[in-house]
Amino acid sequence: MIIHRVIRKVQRFQGWFGGGAALCIIAGLYIGLIGSPPDYYQGEVVRIMYVHVPLAHTSLFAYIVLSIGSMWYLWKRDPIVDNMCHAVAAIGAIFTTLALATGMIWGKPTWNTWWTWDARLTSYTIMLMILIGYLMLRTFIDDSEKEARYAAVLAILGLVDLPIIHFSVEWWRTLHQPQSISMRGVSISSGILIPLMCMSIGMSLLFSYMLMVRTQLLYLDRLLHAKKGRLMSQFHMSKTDP
């Protein structure tokens, strides 16, 4: 199948993703913490953006990967794609949680509140709930084929939240500021944009690398269990069948 060929091709470059992520993030950290100017209005606190925004946009990207993978699984029923979905959900949940945490830390010195239920924060929390529900569902269903199928449907249903998260700051009154990069143009000057881009690229690469590692982990786990199960039954057969 084509997907296996693609996976094998990409897997060969796994180290490049990891190394690239490390380089971009280290460069981003250096520029972001030391080499970039403070913002005219927020001062030094703007540096939190270089970790918050990349985490947040990567988590949205993770959900897009999850829903595309789920559709692919429902169509082709390929177990490796299901492993990938399971992996991306866990990674997405971590990125979402960390984006929320860093956002709260950014909110206190700028907005003067750790948390508020505006449309952006609410819809984003709903995405985290969906991901946690997805992961819980997978641990509780025994039949692996059923588990994969139900989970895929769940993930696709949750996709409605994505445009709501993205456009919430444009459609409704929120405390959260609108998109900085939008149809209006780029509202970040280059000194602040460079570390942001560095960290964004780094986080995307890190996400891809993590996804490869975790998919591999789940795949090997499944392989080991399947083999062990088969050996056990062979052993059992040889004992009972003289």
């Binding site: 100017p37 907005w111 449309a119 609410t122 709930m129 509780f140 009154r173």
Partner: protein, 151 residues
């Protein structure tokens, strides 16, 4: 894990996702769409709102802020371009609170054309640049907050 526990687990996880999706689809999310009222809406409040804690958002009017000399606190005006309301606040305003910038205040509309606030949240815009550029008069594209209030 017993099969009964598993069933409970499945129900809980489905309820979590179902609840989240229902919250999106049905009424509750609507409340957050009016996360704050505008000064025009507050002026039109009837007496039923007087004892209710509400949030009001708008632009802090240039030159309207006056800090008390004897204690920590201040008065200022909040506008959406059409209506303006006076606000009183006790305490230290947040660091990003500034005339000509957006703010969301939480408190009570007393009915005597005064808003008593006990929490100010500063709304910052989406443009970021170093102070040197700002001093040089650079303006980056950004959403017009005042325009977005009146729709």
């Amino acid at each position: 894990m017993g099969s009964k526990n598993k069933k409970i687990g499945i129900i809980v996880s489905l309820a979590l996702v179902g609840g989240a999706l229902a919250y999106l689809a049905l009424g509750n999310f609507g409340e957050n769409l009016v996360y704050f009222f505008t000064p025009s809406e507050v002026k039109a409040f009837d007496s039923g709102y007087y004892q209710k804690k509400v949030r009001v958002g708008g632009m802090v009017v240039e030159g309207s802020m006056e800090a008390y000399a004897d204690r920590l606190g201040m008065t200022f005006e909040l506008t959406d371009g059409e209506a303006t309301i006076p606000v009183t606040f006790e305490g230290i305003p947040p660091d990003l609170f500034k005339e000509g910038q957006g703010a969301v205040v939480e408190g009570f509309w007393t009915g005597q054309h005064k808003f008593q606030s006990n929490l100010i949240m500063a709304k910052h815009s989406e443009d970021y640049m170093p102070i040197e550029l700002k001093r040089a008069g650079v303006e980056l594209p950004r959403k017009d907050f005042m325009k977005s209030l009146i729709q």
